[in-house]
Symmetry: C2
Subunit: 158 residues, 2 copies
DNA sequence: ATACTGATTGTAACCATTCTTATTAAGTAA
DNA sequence: TTACTTAATAAGAATGGTTACAATCAGTAT
């Protein structure tokens, strides 16, 4: 328990640092800071999961009773264009958003949709290959692993 | 020119083989073959690109003037469930479908959306890592590289 | 032939996302 | 502070891809 709370605090601190950096980097562009934007960014950076636009909307409707869904979408696009946020599109209907733009990947559960982050180095080689094979100027890549999460494995076994 | 036509014929032959195999594997399940299904499969397997459901619908409306869009979607799902076809979901609105289910990846142009296939071996290691890190039972993975295609590089340079 | 199973059609509904317009808030310079 | 300029928000309507549903149709087996 103690260990966990320490972890929590560390994570929180790290995220707040990232949030501060994000706010700073927005200031350097011509993007205005507004209460709504701050709240959306704060939620995303303190969020362990990968929320949909609607998740964010619902999470903030207490604080901003009359915020529009369009505002959430607009600002997510602003953040995405600024490189602060990544959009993840899977087969299911709605996009998910991820504040952690550092190199990491996702493992996704086929049956419950849970998303777990993991780190893996050195896929630069793939980018280089693609660059040569296709003649593209490569910018980034995306990778996901699909499978069944521990909980669902247990559930399926009864 | 001669060389190209030989290439074309080879590709065509290969694809028809794959189509035949696909038809065969459908026969082994309890999926009925219908003219619409045959046409959709044939189009997908002879198609160099990665069409949307609507692309397929439009391409076949001459042959099947009263085919429904629903039929295209229904059958794409049937083929997907049978493992003959892969669904690709990117940021843009509509899914794309890919008949080539062998291990290959895509390079996608950020500005025009062009999709180019390329092959890369040995991402099994990533699956294994994810399995250990997250405790998942891993089934598959997906990877894409994003960048600018040669045409768009040229266009941007004026 | 009859009944059964599954496929197709056409349309309506759904839902995520974007557009439009009026209004409001933020930045700026005097 | 005040007035001005510009961008952001809200609300709701519109868009567009996808799916659900009910009715009809085709193929197959008894």
């Amino acid at each position: 328990m103690y260990y966990e709370s320490v972890m929590q605090r560390e994570v929180k601190t790290m995220e707040n640092t990232e949030l501060r950096e994000a706010l700073q980097s927005l200031k350097s562009t011509k993007v205005r800071m507004t209460p709504q934007r701050h709240a959306i960014l704060e939620f995303l950076f303190n969020c362990e999961s990968h929320p949909t636009a609607d998740d964010i909307y619902k999470a903030l409707e207490d604080k901003f009773p009359n915020m529009s869904v369009a505002t959430v979408y607009n600002n997510l696009r602003v953040f995405k264009d600024a490189g602060l946020v990544r959009e993840l599109t899977y087969g299911d209907s709605s996009s998910r958003f991820d504040s952690n733009t550092s190199d990491h990947y996702h493992v996704i559960c086929d049956s419950c949709g849970k998303i777990v982050d993991f780190h893996y180095p050195g896929l630069d080689e793939v980018e280089t290959l693609a660059e040569h094979v296709a003649g593209f100027r490569v910018r980034s890549h995306r990778m996901e692993v699909y499978g069944t999460c521990p909980d669902c494995i247990k559930a399926q076994a009864h």
